[in-house]
Symmetry: C2
């Protein structure tokens, strides 16, 4: 059988206020076409369906339409889980009706242990969860007994294995930052608002008994730990770090012999282009004529000077259209901009920011494990409260 | 055939911060039992399913469970529409999957013209809408051509009639303030936050071609315009104006001869009791021993004096438990309280408040029709913006 593996749709996401819904619809139509051409037997969406816990009305309407097209019009089973961006409990509404039509939308850790049983395949669906959800599910009173996601995943996988049918292949769909030997360099390539690495990372070795693990969370397919534990990446470029990376989906073929996965590219409708140079260079006809036309791309502009010109952004917009970002690099009369450092900051997790702050105010001391754990607990509470508000 | 008619569940509503979910579950279980005893063929919920456009996680979970019990466990068709409290566009998510299982959840005016076709009955479902929704649907550019709900309803019903099958009975489910000859006294008995009467009222005569109209919006069944155009009322008492009124549902029987409707009572688990008297009277054992025990009722307290006692509310709570309201009537050292007037204010619509304000600042001049229309347009924009935020 063949499955299409995608993830991190982030429906409703904006690029610094620029609406991406058109681009998301374009990516969706490409995915639909790939599914048709490849005659797949189902679609996996490995979390971060929406961009936030309470999505906008436009996002809800779009996602409802997309699911309707895939599941009802095209008659494809859909296997979707919630990611860290989704509001798991709200997203859960109605899912028992959806399953009647093979639209599997799982958002709770408790739903992870009953796989979808196909003829030769068991599909386990493990939505994103916090360690506290695992403590509640496994009835563990003492936080210190189950603090990291890595230790929680170990428990979860053990329980899943009780359901393994040795005559079938096992597929897992989940949404975490998974580290292996191959993807150590991609520690900082996650989408911007979730924590990466450290206490929130899961070791790929936990998944060795699955035939294929369809991951969501990191937006670059290159961040995959190995060829059986794969990130599909997001179908759309969501920030400048992703600008030069190709986007796409995996076609996963499951036969008796084993599992293979092949990448299928999604070409952007309006690409995200990073322009770098002095203001005069970028404003010159010679340079701008080589770029996509106004209205046909999103531009992130990195100026290597800071010209004494009024309305820099407006001037650039008149030439390029949608200037979604404007960064200044190098020195100016006011101070020094280090674009790389700024960019790192936007990708840092809340925890990393707090760690950095602690080091700054204590002249370089590192937080103790106890302090890190405390911070993590508080952040989890805050995230929960945000969702339930 | 038999249908159970209920409305105005307002799942997630609180009484001044006191959670009503337990009481709402009790009412739900009673409704479920009535449906079983009467062997009904379906459940009508005529709007205001939730209490607000973005309900709490607890409310979403509860409503999902309730629908699951009725529609999947008990196998009953459910006919539910959105009311003015519901977020129509968000509530719409997934409804095409629900219909596969005869859970009809309609939230858009565009869905009103395709009735659910049963053997001998057509069920039309008209969710709450604003005149602006009707202008969009009917493609009317000029606001003045379709300003009031009454004129919009006339258009809607005309279009519905095109679908009437003369060999069947016609049932309408909707959610508006409908005025007839019989319910003129109930102009001010609606739930608190929606506008009542005036531009938002619909004349019952529009509905004369339906065999039964199942209404939601006003919380008292006594507010029904006539026996074929009925409010079921809310299943739970939501404010002190409703404290002495019985709550329940209608069993609607549709035969070839015609339609009859019978009221079935819901007895509260924790009743809402209004206590009136001096502080000393209410604190006396003689008086309090005749009331429901602490924890077995919600109390609204109206003190006829203003005693020089610290922690009045706390003292009352120690005797009675859940004191959800505390009003002072009559004179005190500080000023005059007119409990009735205060109570009227809480029931007044936003429009009424603005009208009153206008009269106050203009020494008694009334707003012109043009001004009223302007205010109504602005209020509608505000409500829309609130939902879409």
């Amino acid at each position: 059988m063949k499955l299409l593996h995608t993830a991190d749709w982030h429906i409703g996401k904006q690029l610094n206020g620029f609406d991406l819904l058109d681009e998301q619809w374009h990516a969706f139509e490409t995915i639909r076409q790939i599914a048709k051409d490849e005659k797949v037997d189902g679609i996996i969406i490995a979390g971060d369906l929406y961009d936030r816990a309470i999505p906008s009305v436009a996002a809800v309407e779009a996602f409802d339409k997309m699911l309707h097209i895939l599941n009802i019009e095209d008659g494809l089973p859909v296997y979707a889980i919630s990611g860290n961006h989704d509001g798991a409990n709200r997203l859960n509404f109605g899912n028992r009706w959806f399953e009647e039509n093979q639209l599997y939308l799982r958002t709770q850790i408790s739903e992870a242990f009953q796989p979808v049983e196909l003829n030769d395949v068991q599909i386990f669906m493990l939505p994103f969860f916090d360690p506290i959800d695992a403590r509640i599910y496994f009835d563990i009173d003492e936080p210190s007994d189950l603090r990291s996601i890595d230790s929680a995943i170990a428990l979860v996988i053990d329980r899943m294995k009780e359901q393994f049918n040795p005559s079938k292949k096992q597929i897992l769909i989940t949404h975490f930052h998974v580290t292996g030997e191959q993807n150590a360099d991609y520690e900082l390539t996650s989408e911007t608002t979730s924590t990466v690495g450290g206490l929130n990372a899961v070791r790929a070795t936990h998944f060795k008994d699955f035939d294929y693990v369809a991951l969501g969370h990191l937006h670059l397919w290159q961040a995959s730990p190995d060829k059986y534990v794969r990130y599909s990446g997001s179908p759309v470029k969501f920030n400048t770090k992703e600008a030069t990376n190709e986007k796409g989906v995996y076609i996963v073929e499951i036969t008796e012999k084993g599992v293979t996965s092949d990448f299928r590219k999604i070409t952007p409708k309006n690409d995200l282009i990073v322009l770098k140079g002095t203001f005069d260079e970028l404003m010159s006809k010679d340079f701008s004529s080589k770029q996509p036309k106004k209205g046909e791309a999103f531009f992130s502009v990195k100026l290597t000077d800071r010209p004494l010109v009024k309305n820099i952004r407006q001037s650039l917009s008149e030439v390029y259209g949608d200037v979604v970002e404007l960064h200044f690099m190098g020195q100016s009369t006011v101070g020094t901009w280090d674009e790389e450092e700024l960019s790192q900051r936007t990708v840092a997790s809340d925890q990393d920011i707090l760690k950095q702050f602690y080091e700054d105010v204590t002249a370089g001391q590192e937080m103790s494990l106890q302090q890190i754990n405390l911070v993590e607990d508080v952040l989890q509470e805050v995230r929960k409260a945000g969702e339930e508000a």
